[in-house]
């Protein structure tokens, strides 16, 4: 409890180091929800954020899925954008320079349908300056393996990471999918294969239909669920991941407020990415950053690193002396 804390008047130190990646603060924006960053420059100063993860980039431009690509669900949304993007060439030509000019810390989310595509992208992006890190989106289907997502199999995940690792010395983030039996297993595989950092979670596989027309709400039938609805799932995934690996973890999923971001930080995420919230409130990421700062002041936290990972899981019985002492009951599953 912060009761004993003395509020700080000096600005709290929000810097975080995620292995080789050093950030001014722990608030990033999530891929696909912040465009190429420039879309938001009317709303906020991009250089204030810890970093910007741009829309997933592939070697060649991709047109994306036919519409409808969106559907709303309780406290969430489904998307099946289909990884539409301008391709790495146009990204480097049209998007990267103005984004750099705005002083943004730029992380590029990469995707491919084969291990080779990932590796080649990494090599192209390593050749340019102004990129702080790469984030590997392993939720893409492996076209050579029947479309099963790279991120659902530890061996495939490791292959992608190792191939990218071999082609770049940029800090490497692997973005994990929640749609697996054990996220810890994939996390370990990605870490062992050379990922400096893990980020989780990508969207949760989901769908919605219209009972009247009897049709799926997305042309793609199945899409990815994001937004507040998935926050408790994301938090559990981060909890399992930080306990499975020794590398830094970035928390993603349903973060709308500073309180949400703090949940991830206290569980052990070294930084967070704000996704769907950007779509609803273009200034959400900045609000969250300011809220974290306010929280630190209020709680007398001088450096955010003193807060990260300090989850207190011990049972607290303030009146334990109130009767005969007995063993705390064993934890039972749900």
């Amino acid at each position: 409890m912060g009761q004993s804390a003395t509020p700080h008047s000096s600005a709290p130190d929000l810097r975080v180091s995620l292995g080789p990646l050093h950030l001014a603060n722990p608030v990033l924006t999530a891929s696909g929800t912040f465009g190429y960053g420039l879309e938001f420059s009317d709303f906020l100063d991009l250089s204030r954020l810890g970093g910007i993860v741009v829309k997933g980039i592939s070697l060649k431009p991709r047109p994306g899925n036919p519409p409808p690509r969106l559907a709303e669900t309780p406290c969430g949304m489904l998307n099946a954008i289909g990884l539409e993007n301008v391709g790495v060439e146009r990204f480097l030509r049209d998007k990267l320079p103005p984004l750099r000019q705005r002083g943004a810390v730029i992380i590029v989310n990469i995707l491919g349908n084969t291990v080779e595509e990932y590796a080649e992208l990494a090599s192209v992006l390593s050749g340019v300056s102004g990129i702080a890190a790469l984030e590997i989106n392993i939720s893409c289907p492996n076209v050579k393996r029947g479309g099963m997502a790279f991120g659902t199999d530890p061996h495939m995940a490791a292959q992608v990471v190792a191939a990218v690792r071999a082609r770049t010395s940029l800090p490497l983030i692997t973005k994990l999918s929640p749609n697996v039996t054990s996220i810890a297993e994939i996390a370990r595989a990605a870490h062992d294969a050379g990922s400096d950092i893990l980020s989780c979670i990508n969207t949760v596989s989901a769908m919605a239909v219209d009972p009247f027309s009897r049709r799926p709400k997305l042309a793609n039938i199945v899409g990815g669920l994001s937004g507040p609805a998935i926050k408790p799932i994301a938090l559990r995934c981060v909890y399992e991941t930080v306990r499975a690996v020794s590398c830094p973890v970035i928390g993603i999923g349903g973060i709308q407020t500073a309180m949400d971001a703090l949940e991830f930080l206290v569980v052990g995420a070294s930084a967070v990415q704000v996704g769907t919230a950007n779509l609803v409130h273009p200034r959400a990421s900045l609000h969250i950053l300011e809220g974290i700062e306010k929280f630190c002041r209020h709680q007398g936290i001088g450096a955010i690193t003193d807060y990260i990972g300090t989850l207190d899981t011990a049972c607290r019985f303030p009146f334990a002396d109130e009767s005969c002492s007995v063993e705390p009951p064993a934890r039972e599953p749900v």
Partner: protein, 290 residues
């Protein structure tokens, strides 16, 4: 033309027709740079995160001096129902001005036709107001409004436009007001036989109306702009969700999309692959009680 997010105060709320409401919003940061055909994203939830997403609404009227704008909304689902129930005095979260507005005529001698199907009157009214105050000041008779709805009860009043001298033709599917038939029937009746085509045509309405009108103007080669719709999450070009199938002039068979919130909502219908457009899902109003 910077886009901003602001808490807009709802000053007035009026029922204008069956299921149709007009809200007057005080949005002093957004209104000054707003243009007809542009839109705002309005958050509908006043508490909690359900419904999560904001909803797009066109500027219906702009009162720049006062920092006011009006939106006209038709209740079709939970979000529009909530907005229609909002009390004056409360505030809504608004982002705007967004998208590409109408390209206004440059000369006063242009004959301009407006085709509004149902709630499609919403953005066209802002453009009409604009032309009446600029290019067509003193020449309202060169502005022709075709306004149709299913039934008289769904029409909003247009007395002031008529008084201002705009040529107005009202139609209803059931003949309960104006000419019987679709708004397009009315347009065709007037112009099919005419030797002189209008210089410009602006339209907004249902998907079938859009397609039929696109077909009609294509054969006649009229300059036209339509305000189109698509599901939106952000309205600012960030999510890529609002795709519409688009024509790639270099490769007509290619799978291409444009994004209504950025490339539109006002678009030349020739840019749309109408053969690939799926209609938005429309639910009967009974669904709200199930």
């Amino acid at each position: 033309m910077p886009r901003v997010q602001e808490k807009a105060k709802i000053l007035e709320s009026h029922k204008e027709a069956e299921g149709t409401y007009r809200l007057v919003l005080y949005a002093p940061k957004i209104v000054p740079t707003a243009r007809p055909g542009q839109f705002v994203m309005v958050r509908v939830a006043s508490e909690g995160a359900d419904p999560l997403l904001a909803r797009p609404f066109s500027f219906h009227r702009l009162h720049k001096e006062d920092g006011l704008c009006e939106i006209l909304l038709r209740v079709v689902g939970a979000g529009t129902r909530l907005l229609s129930q909002r009390q004056p005095g409360s505030s809504v979260d608004v982002v705007g001005p967004l998208g590409r507005g109408f390209t206004a005529p440059t000369r006063s001698d242009e004959t301009v036709v407006f085709v509004a199907g149902g709630i499609g009157i919403a953005p066209l009214r802002a453009l009409l107001d604009h032309l009446l105050a600029t290019t067509h000041k003193g020449h309202p008779e060169r502005l022709h409004l075709y306004y149709g709805a299913r039934s008289a009860s769904e029409l909003i009043a247009l007395h002031d436009l008529k008084r201002a001298g705009v040529v107005s033709v009202v139609s209803t599917d059931d003949g309960s007001a104006g000419e019987r038939g679709t708004v397009l029937d009315a347009v065709q009746k007037r112009w099919n036989a005419s030797s002189q085509m209008p210089n410009r045509l602006y339209a907004c309405g249902s998907l079938p109306m859009q397609v039929n009108l696109a077909r009609w103007v294509r054969r006649r080669d009229i300059w036209v702009e339509m305000s189109l719709e698509s599901m939106m999450a952000c309205g600012i070009g960030a999510c890529l969700g609002c795709a519409l199938p688009a024509v790639d002039p270099e490769d007509p068979q290619a799978q291409r999309y444009l994004h209504v919130c950025q490339d539109g909502p006002v678009l030349d219908p020739k840019r749309i692959r109408w053969d690939k457009v799926q209609p938005l899902i429309a639910r009967p109003l009974i669904s709200a009680s199930l």
